[in-house]
């Protein structure tokens, strides 16, 4: 079967004035559909950059990204946005929920933005599975970190994207909440067959994954 993500010699150089900072230096990797992959590596080695490039948020300086058979950066801006919103959900270290909206509205907003192609019956399934069904009326600042992250996962998973990209999803959580969140990610991965790419600093978290990718200095050193 064709891999869901495949990259070839990805490079990304940030330029700040005359200084250029190479963040990715020739990354080639493939991820199979349904895989749960953890990405580890020291701070500044380019993990977040890789995730942003694979998720279509940032354009690489050179190289190709194939997601579900589509050359992501051959698409126009608008096409890539549309593609991204159907195929990829993001979860961030800082939860990134909209503070003015309740948990329910945060999830519904994602549904709304994604428009048709979003199964409305999934709402209950997802919120039940993530154990937030009784927290839906609360706003983010009335929820614990773990609960906020579960809402964020629900939001990312609600429209059944093929891929979930998580950048240190447990980075701001205590170990107990981390365990719950990781568990949930695992269930999402197994029950909905969503491919997960998760950045983490924590070996325990990485242990949940099927495979661990180690990065250093913008390169993958082991798969």
């Amino acid at each position: 079967m064709e891999p869901i993500i495949a990259t070839q010699d990805l490079e990304k150089v940030y330029r700040i004035g005359r200084v250029s900072i190479p963040a990715l230096r020739g990354v080639s990797l493939t991820v199979e559909e349904g895989e749960f992959v953890a990405v580890m590596g020291p701070s500044g080695c380019g993990k977040s950059t890789l995730l942003h490039v694979l998720g279509g948020l940032t354009r690489p300086t050179s190289g190709k990204v194939l997601v579900d058979g589509n050359d992501l950066f051959a698409l126009s801006d608008a096409e890539r946005t549309r593609f991204r919103r159907h195929k990829i959900g993001f979860v961030f270290q800082r939860f990134n929920l909209l503070p003015t909206l309740t948990a329910r509205d945060n999830i519904l907003l994602a549904q709304h933005i994604q428009g048709d192609g979003c199964n409305p019956h999934r709402f209950e399934t997802v919120t039940n599975m993530l154990g937030i069904a009784d927290k839906l009326a609360q706003r983010p600042n009335e929820l614990s970190g773990g609960e906020q992250q579960r809402v964020a996962i629900a939001r990312a998973a609600i429209c059944e994207p093929k891929i979930l990209m998580a950048d240190e999803p447990t980075g701001n959580l205590d170990s107990e909440s981390s365990a719950v969140v990781l568990n949930m990610m695992r269930s999402v991965n197994q029950e909905f067959r969503q491919t997960i790419l998760m950045i983490t600093h924590n070996p325990e978290a990485a242990a949940v994954a099927d495979r661990i990718i180690e990065m250093r200095d913008g390169q993958i050193i082991s798969k």
Partner: protein, 361 residues
Amino acid sequence: MIAQNILRRPIRTVISVLAVGIEVSMVMLVVGLTHGMLHDSAQRIGGLGADVMVQAPHASMFLGMTSAPMPVKLGDYFARLDHVKAVTPVLFQFDPSGVSLIWGIDMKTWDRVTGGFAYLRGGPFTGPYDLLVDNWYARQNRVRVGQVVKLLNHGFTVSGIVEHGKGSRLFIPLQTAESLAEQQNRASIFFIKCTNPGYTDSVINAIKKLLPNYTVLSVQEYMSLLTSNDLPALTDFITVLVAIAVTIGFLVIFLSMYTTIAERTREIGILKSLGATKGYIIELILEEAGILSLAGIVAGYLGTWAGRMLIHRAFPTVTVEFTARWAVWAAILAIVGSFIGALYPALRAAQLDPVDALAYE
């Protein structure tokens, strides 16, 4: 989400709504006031029954704005022209305390041009410091015959109350007006009655030949000038005020949306990470501005209504004339102004890089 954003920043919301409201009521009141005043004065000039009016060179369209007096003697020349039945001079005096234009009139010739006043109470002047008022003025100011009214720093005794619709609302004898103005034998305007209205043009031509630089108009022409919508002097005036009003609305909405976007950069990053297109973001911002300006328009209509009440209370004889057309125009201008004001912030928000926006504190 739009509603949340609007409610969560109440001060910003109130200020934006107020600004648009002020914009709308300013447009409507300015237009309403000028239209009301012009229609009013056009009607009263028409009610005189004169055919031709003569003013000094470069006289203002708005009677009384410039005094620019002419020698009263000119009237004798006009009277000798063919087809002229009667000529009457008027000297304008402006009384700032009551915002009213007082006409100094020469009763003998006035009667011949206008057919005379219809006296509802009392009668003509009997002394130099006598005053005639129209029934409107009398009612609004509760003035009775025999009462002393203070005008131009003098006490005037009301000798009669006349039916409204002939030129002004307040009349004093011409000589008195002249001496108060410290101008002997001067007139601001001559009204001329032709033997037959059909001779109006030939009388005008004859006067223009006699006094080429003078402002000579048929009363008909003057009325249609005042009531037409493309009166140049008027449109300039209105345009300037309307432009100021729209600019206020535009700037406030611009600033309001611009700061909102700076404040919500992270939020926009989140929306983009969820797959929101540029169009979605632009629509979101414009919609928010649209709701603010709709609320502002409603506030503006209320403000207009309140403004008219205040004006009527302070200046009972002033008419404010609203037309549905200008209500619609004021709304359209407000919406267009805020749309343009919100456009740049919206485009900027749409251009934000999602990764940068998410990293924004």
